[in-house]
């Protein structure tokens, strides 16, 4: 017999965002982690080095960030689910391997716990200054997926989604965290979280000759076999045809480049994670992401309470830009207020997607959270 009293007791865990990322990764099936120490991402490594070895997984401290992500790419092609984590200075060093993972379709989850830049900046101050860098910091400019958590719960769930998306689309997936999310501790009812079903990359149907980059009609992602399989697998960072050998055929190259973009751009509606609070009669929609969403939600609630409603859209998928979602949620408002912990990065996308709306921007880069009072001020400066 079920004791209902017991069922209703909410048992909370107490952890920081970085730790929640580690637990989410483990639940998603991550069995290889390599990273180089850097504040404020180090505590992800600290958690993984405890969690992975007893599970038969690998946690390696690379000699630098280039090596760390390189090891992940090797292990991913051997069939393991892999993750690495760093902050802005490490993201700079990841660049060549992010390009590799994009062009050669290697599943990997990359956590960026952002800190105040430019450059080494401030190790223990938060920012969202790498939002465009994650998208464009690769050679070739093909898209990536970027998910942005606002709190500890998001860290757990979005990390699981990140693994699923990396597996499904064979691409790098970023978790764009921030010192203020990663190193802030919260109570979390980890048992009550609705987990997404865990996905794995798709093996080819048997009976056909395997080509490592062949894409069947109606599909957008090549089948995966691991290096070490009975059937030979080729992986290469060079411009390649379906067989994994260099190609110079412009038509073949163009087709592949087109697919590398469209496989994500055409699918973003399937993974446009967000929270939307739309109020009847609201003139303004706040659009924000990351830790700033928390202060924005305070403002949304206080406005609702006093009967002068504003609407709020918290984006959790930043790239590809969930354009349909943004258009739909902004449809009824006259004005959109964009808030970011940087000097204006994602607002470029909002302005592009919503050319008919009045767009107001507020951003701050001083190591401090944007406060509810500051948002209030922005709202009242209509």
């Amino acid at each position: 017999m079920i004791d209902w009293m017991e069922v209703f007791v909410v048992a909370l865990t107490f952890m920081e965002g970085n730790e929640a990322i580690a637990w989410g990764a483990i639940e998603a099936g991550c069995r290889f982690y390599a990273g180089y120490p850097i504040t404020p991402a180090t505590t992800i490594f600290n958690a993984m080095v405890k969690l992975l070895p007893p599970l038969g997984g690998y946690c390696i401290q690379g000699e630098d960030e280039i090596a760390s992500i390189g090891m992940c790419l090797g292990a991913s092609m051997a069939g393991l689910k892999v993750m690495t984590a760093t902050s802005g200075p490490g993201l700079s060093l990841y660049s060549e391997h992010i390009s590799f993972a994009i062009g050669s379709e290697i599943p990997i989850v990359i956590v960026i716990v952002q800190r105040l830049g430019p450059s080494t900046g401030s190790a223990t101050r938060g920012a969202d200054g790498d939002i465009q860098f994650m998208r464009w910091g690769n050679s070739g400019g093909q898209p990536v997926i970027v998910l942005a958590p606002s709190d500890v719960r998001d860290c757990f769930v979005l990390t699981m989604h990140a693994f699923n998306l990396a597996e499904q689309f064979r691409c790098p997936v970023f978790v764009a965290s921030n010192k203020e999310v990663g190193m802030t501790k919260e109570g979390l009812d980890i048992d009550a979280i609705q987990r997404p079903e865990v996905r794995t990359r798709t093996a080819p149907p048997s009976g056909q000759p395997f080509l490592p980059f062949r894409v069947d009609p109606g599909q957008s992602v090549p089948y995966f076999l691991p290096i070490g399989h009975e059937i030979l697998v080729r992986q290469t960072s060079s411009t390649h045809g379906p067989d994994g050998y260099i190609t110079t055929d412009p038509e073949q190259i163009a087709r592949n480049q087109e697919r590398l973009g469209s496989k994500l751009l055409s699918a973003v509606d399937q993974f446009s994670f967000h929270e939307a609070y739309l109020e009847e009669g609201a003139d303004t929609l706040i659009i924000t992401y990351g830790v700033t969403a928390r202060a924005a939600k305070d403002i949304y609630l206080s406005h609702k309470k006093v009967g002068s409603p504003v609407s709020l859209l918290i984006l959790k998928t930043l790239w590809p830009v969930p354009e349909a979602l943004i258009k739909e949620k902004a449809e009824k408002v006259r004005r959109v207020v964009v808030l970011e912990m940087n000097k204006g990065q994602y607002v470029r996308e909002i302005t592009r997607v919503l050319p008919q709306k009045k767009i107001d921007f507020f951003g701050q880069m001083n190591g401090q959270l944007i406060t509810p009072q500051q948002i209030e001020e922005v709202l009242s400066n209509a």
Partner: protein, 431 residues
């Protein structure tokens, strides 16, 4: 065993290039070892040496310049049964120096074949890490300013367990390569060759000259006795087996009642080393024991035991959005550095904020209510003052009470530390 050479993709090196000799010797080694293509992963990077994987019917992983060892490390750990053969040129050796050193130090069972031809052939013959200073190369006089790297000496001092230096023209090159592959650990084979297309155009280099140059070095052939040790993967798996599964995160069931109905913002201002963050942790656990929402964010410099340490804790019966604290209900001021870091805050406080202040702290001008504690006269040392302050809070029934604090301490500590911390929070005097 049959040859593993890819018949439809024959080597495309410049005529006379010694890389081709290495390709054939490598194939012979594979055959002699009875290896099938799917038992081998060839990992390569950029430059002429990076073409190698395409000439073989094996698994292949071709990536960025100098990074081959990083991919190989991930591959080999994930698939210990594979023979992982890494090829690099002297160029990759230079740009990937850190990876080379680390691979030597790790001793993972990889075979690194360095096709050393003393220049960047593919980009037009610029100098590399191994170009002699007297050579004529496409980098002007620059190579005359730098000293060439002795790859093998570096490998040995970095801890490689197997190191060989030889000529591409060596008679038993296939056997030499086979010995390196058979070694269980990281093996380096530095094979000197001739770049006919670039380097040899301006520098007279013949098989005999290579042999002469090699003979000037002390011979390095195979096993490095002083570096012998466990293979990294085997060692890792052995160590991993001995690791305990960490406990699932602690679940805290609320069973107590908070003395407060409203949201509490508590800022603890101290110096590094005063266990400020731990006190913040304990406050949160106390809040959770009473079913409250909690957040904790901390501020400190990257130095340990120096500088300010600040913990900001919110305890609230409602969902917590913004994690900063606009107007604290409680400030605990026990370290001057923390107080100085937030000095601007004090003038904005009114009597609704309670400051628990250590007697030796000089506070900026403030209208807040001040509760002074003389820790020193009670014999409470600096590192215990944060926890003792929580005892004061609990006794005043401000933000938490003693039951909540006790529950938190029982979650956080065990044994003698629990006992002494319980003693501390009970013993602290409160007027």
């Amino acid at each position: 065993m049959p040859s593993l050479l890819n018949k439809s993709r024959p080597p495309v090196f410049c005529p006379g290039c010694t890389h081709e000799r290495v390709v054939r010797a490598l194939d012979e080694a594979y055959q002699n070892m009875g290896l099938k293509g799917n038992q081998i992963a060839m990992v390569s990077d950029i430059g002429c040496s990076g073409l190698i994987d395409t000439f073989f019917n094996t698994h292949a992983f071709h990536g960025l310049h100098g990074r081959a060892l990083t991919y190989a490390t991930g591959l080999k750990l994930a698939r210990p049964e594979l023979n992982v053969i890494v090829t690099m040129g002297d160029g990759g050796m230079g740009i990937g120096g850190a990876h080379f050193l680390s691979a030597c130090r790790r001793n993972l069972d990889l075979t690194l074949i360095i096709l050393n031809n003393f220049n960047f052939g593919m980009t037009g013959g610029q100098f590399s890490a191994t170009t002699p200073p007297e050579a004529q190369v496409a980098s002007g006089f620059l190579n005359s300013l730098e000293r060439p790297l002795d790859i093998c000496k570096v490998a040995i001092s970095a801890g490689a367990t197997y190191v060989t230096r030889c000529s591409s023209y060596k008679k038993d090159l296939a056997q030499e390569i086979e010995r390196a592959i058979r070694h269980k650990g990281f093996s380096v084979i530095d094979i000197w060759g001739i770049c006919v297309g670039r380097y040899a155009k301006k520098n007279r280099l013949t098989p005999q000259k290579i042999q002469e140059s090699l003979s000037k070095f002390p011979s390095i052939e195979g096993i490095v006795e002083e570096n012998q040790r466990k293979e990294y993967g085997i060692h890792y798996r052995e160590m991993a087996k001995g690791q305990n599964t960490p406990p699932s995160p602690l679940r805290i069931e609320p069973s107590l009642e908070s003395p407060e109905k409203d949201r509490q913002g508590i800022i603890i201002l101290g110096n590094a080393g005063q266990r400020i963050i731990t006190a913040g942790d304990i406050l949160c656990l106390a809040g959770l024991s009473a079913g409250l929402r909690v957040t904790q964010k901390n501020e400190y410099n990257i130095t340990v035991l120096r500088g300010p340490s600040i913990s900001e804790v919110i305890l609230s019966p409602e969902e917590i959005g913004y994690t900063g604290i606009h107007r604290p209900t409680v400030v605990i001021a026990i370290g001057q550095e923390g107080v100085s870091r937030r000095s601007h805050m004090f003038s904005k406080l009114n009597e609704e904020t309670l400051i628990i202040c250590s007697k030796d702290i000089s506070l900026p001008q403030t209208n807040a209510s001040i509760y002074t504690v003389d820790f020193k006269s009670q014999g409470i040392k600096s590192s215990d003052r944060a926890l003792a302050s929580l005892g004061v809070l609990a006794k005043l029934k401000k933000a938490i009470n003693l039951e909540m604090l006790q529950a938190a301490l029982e979650m956080r500590f065990k044994g003698p530390i629990l006992e002494s911390s319980l003693d501390l929070v009970h013993r602290i005097e409160c007027y």
